[in-house]
């Protein structure tokens, strides 16, 4: 994904002489790209102008060729320095001037070499190992006193995303959210990716996981069967949700209701409001969801499919939870850490009908992971799109309709 790049500077009477134009033309003609990051035009004819150009190429070799070609026209490589490091003053505390990350691929310069930052995530810091040979993101709460933390802005490169090779809805490289657009072709593109990822996974290839973060509206709206089928069929490998989705999924199995509404008839049933509490209580008595599935108490639905298919489930709790279910992580920082730990290998994220889980997941994902956000409320996909990810697609639609259509694209017969 990441290209190689180098920053060059041009100085002098570079505008009227067309030297700047010549350098930029040369970069493009040779197959590179550039960003003009800084241009200062002389205020008078005598005053020189100044340009700072980030040159990018698909390979180190091409980059070297481009630099060699533009060097005679005065483009000289900007002097670079290592990124400054400072020790963390205390546990859970960054140095004052810490570098705050974006979700884009990032490199730091250590001992004269550019090192890729591992586990890219926005709004965290970067910790460098003692030997100065590796760098990894670190959340504020996890930092230990004395950890070497990247500070300032020198010696840090944030690389823009490359246009994906696949020519599908994600390759438009723009975060689109619209309730007016037809959904069919977008869902077909998502299905195509999921089929390819499942093939990769079956072939044992790394980085082929699909993540779904979802809210209980999936159950209420009637998307339960479709999602369970997607999981059973091996299309989803990581599930992030809260207490409610799991509770209502199992309530549906035990009582045939979701939050007390008969799923088949759509009517409230007498004492139905107790069903999810009785479900939670039953699972608490058993000890875990997995045990409830393994002992035959829960035999179908989303949770049963997850247990059978070995899907990694992270249940993150919230203030309004009932119970909660025994698997729910109620310490929100611990839940965040569990979600983070489940992300390596994820290559597609579906964020369906849950504002909080969608935003939390979006914040943890690097920009390189294509993301689909589905919600009836346009504010949710818009919020996700505002993260500035180029590979986020927003769909304003009902969760059940989305999951059913997606499952049908993938061969679900219902």
């Amino acid at each position: 994904m990441a290209q190689t790049q180098e920053t060059v500077v041009l100085h002098g009477h570079i505008i009227d002489s067309l030297i700047l134009a010549k350098v930029l033309d040369t970069i493009l003609m040779m197959g590179g790209t550039f960003d003009l990051t800084d241009v200062k035009i002389g205020a008078t004819r005598e005053e020189p102008s100044h340009a700072r150009i980030v040159v990018r190429a698909a390979s180190g070799r091409l980059l070297a060729e481009i630099l060699e070609a533009i060097q005679p026209h005065g483009a000289s490589v900007e002097r670079e320095s290592d990124c400054p490091l400072e020790p963390a003053p205390a546990d859970g505390l960054f140095p004052e001037n810490f570098y705050a990350t974006t979700h884009l691929p990032t490199q730091v310069r250590l001992q004269g070499r550019w090192i890729e930052v591992e586990a890219m995530e926005m709004d965290v810091g970067i910790r460098v190992d003692r030997g100065g040979t590796a760098a990894r993101t670190v959340p504020m709460g996890d930092v230990k006193r004395g950890d070497l933390i990247v500070t300032g802005r020198e010696g840090i490169r944030v690389l823009p995303l490359q246009r994906p090779k696949e020519r599908d809805v994600f390759s438009f490289m723009e975060a689109q959210v619209s309730s007016e657009r037809p959904h069919g072709h977008i869902i077909a593109d998502i299905a195509r990716r999921m089929r390819a990822l499942r093939d990769d996974r079956e072939a044992g290839r790394e980085g082929s996981k699909v993540l779904l973060a979802g809210g209980p509206a999936i159950i209420h709206a009637g998307g339960r069967e479709a999602l369970a089928w997607l999981i059973e069929s091996g299309f989803i490998h990581v599930l992030f949700c809260g207490n409610a989705l799991a509770a209502h999924d199992m309530e549906a199995h035990l009582f045939g209701t979701s939050l007390g509404f008969r799923l088949s008839a759509g009517r409230a049933v007498p004492h139905g409001h107790e069903h999810h509490l009785r479900t939670i209580n039953r699972i608490r008595a058993i000890g875990s969801i997995e045990k409830a599935v393994r002992t035959g108490v829960i035999t179908e639905g989303i949770m049963a499919a997850c247990v059978r298919r070995g899907v990694r489930v992270v249940l993150a709790g919230s203030i309004r939870d009932d119970g909660p279910l025994p698997d729910v992580i109620t310490d929100s920082m611990a839940a965040q850490a569990a979600m983070r730990a489940a992300l390596p290998g994820v290559s597609l994220a579906l964020l369906v009908a849950s504002t909080l889980h969608a935003v939390a997941t979006g914040n943890l994902l690097p920009a390189t992971v294509p993301t689909v956000c589905v919600d009836v409320n346009p504010a949710v996909p818009t919020k996700l799109a505002d993260r500035g990810s180029f590979q986020a697609v927003g769909l304003v639609m009902d969760a059940a309709s989305f999951l059913r259509e997606l499952a049908r694209e993938l061969g679900w017969k219902a």
Binding site: H13, D16, I19
Partner: protein, 266 residues
């Protein structure tokens, strides 16, 4: 009164090959070279009315005769050259010493910042132009622009036969430009055309460009140029210039002509 720095061709010969004109086998005929040089000096002093500053030639430095490459001098300030080829780098200290001995405030460039003096840096009233790629390094012009407080438009030279700007570009006293466009890349051609209107551009035909018609000395309305350039002469005379063609072919053996043999001291 125009002051010109010159250096007699006492040691002028072809000792090396650093441009496509030079051939070790094409030896200089010393008497002819001396006669041609003195012919040029007589003309400059008697007819043109220039004041000649003569510097001592140095044995073993055959190209010192080309004083255009001594550096550039404006007012009391001088920047001596930094030659690209080691063969000519030995001239640097003599040119620098001359400027210092004659009261110039000398600013030197970094050792690896190649700049070959008025051979590559020429001024028009609107702007100075600096030739690069063949000999001078484009980076030198950023520094020279600071030193002299002038705009310098770098122009790329793309033909090794026209290895210095003064072999293909000659500003005239009336604001016109005598030049040979194919010696420049298309960006430089466009930059020149942008600054100097079509009416002021006098294009030299290829055959005469290759005789170094552009390597001319222009003082007031007088132009001294190598002989054998009738089209160029026609164009110059149509603009009211008096032309003085001279035989200078001994110096063409080294890739130089009238202009290369002089340095204007403004």
């Amino acid at each position: 009164m125009s002051r010109l720095l010159v250096c007699a061709p006492d040691y002028f010969r072809i000792d090396y090959e650093i441009n496509p004109w030079m051939r070790l086998s094409n030896a200089v005929v010393p008497e002819r070279a001396r006669a041609q040089w003195h012919g040029l000096m007589r003309l400059l002093e008697a007819k043109i009315g220039a004041l000649l500053e003569r510097m001592e030639p140095v044995p073993g430095l055959p190209d010192m005769v080309f004083t255009a490459n001594a550096g550039v001098a404006v007012g009391r300030r001088a920047v001596p050259s930094r030659f690209r080829h080691p063969e000519r780098q030995r001239e640097e200290s003599y040119f620098e010493a001359w400027f210092r001995d004659h009261g110039y405030e000398v600013t030197t460039l970094d050792k690896d910042l190649y700049f070959e003096g008025a051979g590559d840096l020429l001024g028009l009233p609107d702007a100075w132009f600096g030739g690069y790629r063949q000999r001078s390094d484009i980076r030198a012009y950023g520094r020279l622009s600071e030193i002299f407080g002038r705009e310098i438009i770098p122009v790329e030279l793309v033909n090794s036969h026209f290895y210095h700007l003064d072999t293909c570009f000659c500003p005239l006293s009336g604001g016109e430009l005598l030049y040979y466009p194919p010696a420049f890349d298309r960006y430089a051609q466009a930059a020149i055309a942008e600054r100097i209107g079509e009416a002021r551009r006098l294009v030299v035909p290829e055959s005469e460009a290759l005789r170094f018609a552009c390597n001319a000395v222009c003082v007031a309305k007088q132009v001294v140029l190598p002989e054998g350039c009738p089209e160029t002469i026609k164009r110059l005379e149509a603009r009211g210039y008096t032309t003085h063609p001279l035989p200078l072919d001994e110096f063409m053996k080294a890739g130089g002509s009238a202009k290369c043999l002089t340095l204007a001291l403004e």
